[in-house]
Amino acid sequence: MRWPVQLIIGAILSGLFVLAAAASFLWVPHEVSTLSIADRLKPPSARYLLGTDHFGRDILSMLMVGARTSIAVALVAVGIGVAAGVPLGLAAAARRGSLLDEIIMRGNDLIFAFPSLVIAILITAVFGPSALNAILAIGIFNIPVFARVTRGGALSIWTLDYILAARVAGKNALRISAEHILPNILNLLIVQGTIQFSLGILAEAGLSYVGLGAQPPTPSWGRMLADAQTMIYTAPRLAILPGLAIVGMVLGLNLMGDGLRDALDPRLRRARE
């Protein structure tokens, strides 16, 4: 099989940020917790590759640690969506047309009616801003997305002959869902997971930007942008770099998602040709 070009480019692009995030656990050029006012707002140099911010912190190091925050929040939020949404979707498909199906799908519609930011605002209004609440807000919004994709994919599998054979063989809905349905919709879930991951990065950036996400001193890309806004006249560099990081990561994941869809779904590929 030939790997789609987007998949390779996307994997390299987002892989770079994942690597940077992983590397930041072991080593960063300068500690992000140490402020050095003498070095504030320094332009890029051999010592500070991307310059420093208004507290004299190294921008490159901030971006690396910020990648950690973004990726962790988005990843856990996808985890919540999968953990809750996939079983709900499987159950709804297995009991198609039943009251259970109806309740699950109406519940989904209800969550969809709340723009994710509004959910985040509600949660924050109650529990106060934190990275954990950002994860919750983004994660809750992921649940109906995965439930819907799972149900849609599962419904089409349920009509196939080998499912009928499995039922004749005496397997119950739970076993059929786990042994036959789930493996066959895995590709759908992987593609959706990539998309939700990239949306999660964007959402986390937005929430931290308005102060509802990770709290200082934890560096995050959104917070860096918020800090940079007041200094946009004096140090526009500070406003540009974190944004480029967000775009790079999101673009990489989106390209990967498109590439994966092409690679994993032969029907789609044929339709495109």
């Binding site: 009616a113 723009p115 509600l122 806004q229 944004g243 999101v250 673009l251």
Partner: protein, 315 residues
């Protein structure tokens, strides 16, 4: 059609009731006493008691829920604690910023997306198509608030064509007001236009492959005529759906963008409500936003059932 509309109306009502219950419940679980929460740590007990009275917190939960919902239905959204004015009055003022902004952005994104999607679809597989697809891929990845900052950097800081934020009010004249909304609307519209252009392209490509297009071409219509008379109209259904969905994203996006540009809209009102612990404002404005989203979804459902009779009988 009437039956379809009636069933959708019932589910609209149920969604609204469910949403109001969720919002009410969330505000209910605010740790501690809402009145004490709003007044902060150093509040006098008498002040807390007075506020409890004012907020009607002394009744039962059910009574409070009913009076809140009943109030909203009759246009009484309660009294803002910090502003000391009815929330409905605040909302009405702010709506004059948020609604024009959302519509401005929606108009812009549609104006950009339609021609671009059309060009990409009709030049499918050629350089123009690849260029447009690459540009929209980038457009989807750019966070709108960062794009807003870049616009400020270029058009306000360097070129000085626009101010970096603030809103003069409609009293200053439509031109001044629209000018102040232009950068915010553009930054909201860009990611939406990218998504819409992609939907437009794939919808057009799908309809262009239909038999009736071949028939139209066979009876002598030019490619352009076939597109404008037949393909475009049929491709509009998925495009309309996305435009409807985008309205809710625009409302939510506006919450952030209003903060970038210091626009006195509903989004800023919510944030001020949170920082000032004015829960009455947060509760009512959130409900209003959710109501708007549910209503738009309902209208889109009706619109495309009217456009496509097949959808009326499907579940």
């Amino acid at each position: 059609m009437l039956r379809f509309a009636a069933t959708r109306l019932v589910s609209l009502g149920l969604s609204l009731i469910a949403a109001s219950l969720v919002i009410f419940a969330v505000i209910e679980v605010v740790p501690g006493d809402p009145a004490a929460f709003m007044l902060g740590l150093n509040a006098e007990p008498e002040a807390v008691a007075a506020l409890r009275d004012e907020l009607g917190l002394n009744g039962s939960r059910a009574a409070r829920y009913l009076s809140w919902v009943g109030g909203m239905v009759t246009g009484d959204f309660g009294q803002s604690y910090t502003y000391r004015v009815p929330v409905s009055q605040l909302v009405l003022q702010r709506l004059w910023v948020s609604l024009p902004l959302a519509l401005y952005a929606l108009g812009l994104s549609t104006l950009i997306a339609f021609p671009i999607g059309l060009i990409a679809a009709s030049r499918r597989g050629r350089p123009a198509d690849y260029g447009i697809m690459a540009a929209t891929q980038l457009g989807v990845a750019v966070p709108n608030f960062w794009f807003a900052m870049l616009l400020v950097l270029v058009f306000a800081v360097n070129l000085r064509w626009f101010s970096a934020g603030g809103f003069p009010g409609w009293e200053a004249g439509a031109f001044a007001a629209l000018k102040a909304l232009t950068l915010p609307a553009v930054s909201l519209a860009l990611p939406q236009a990218s998504i819409l252009a992609r939907v437009m392209r794939s919808a057009l490509i799908e309809t262009l492959g239909q038999d009736y297009i071949r028939t139209a071409r066979a009876k002598g219509l030019s490619r352009r005529q076939a597109i404008t008379r037949h393909a475009l109209r049929n491709a509009l259904i998925p495009v309309l759906t996305i435009i409807g969905l985008q309205f809710s994203f625009l409302l939510a996006g506006a919450i952030i963008i209003e903060n970038v540009f210091f626009l006195p809209g509903l989004g800023r009102l919510i944030f001020q409500g949170i920082t000032q612990r004015d829960l009455v404002v947060v509760e009512s404005v959130v409900m209003l936003l959710v109501f708007a989203v549910i209503l738009v979804t309902f209208l889109v459902d009706l619109a495309y059932a009217a456009a496509d009779p097949r959808l009326r009988h499907r579940r």
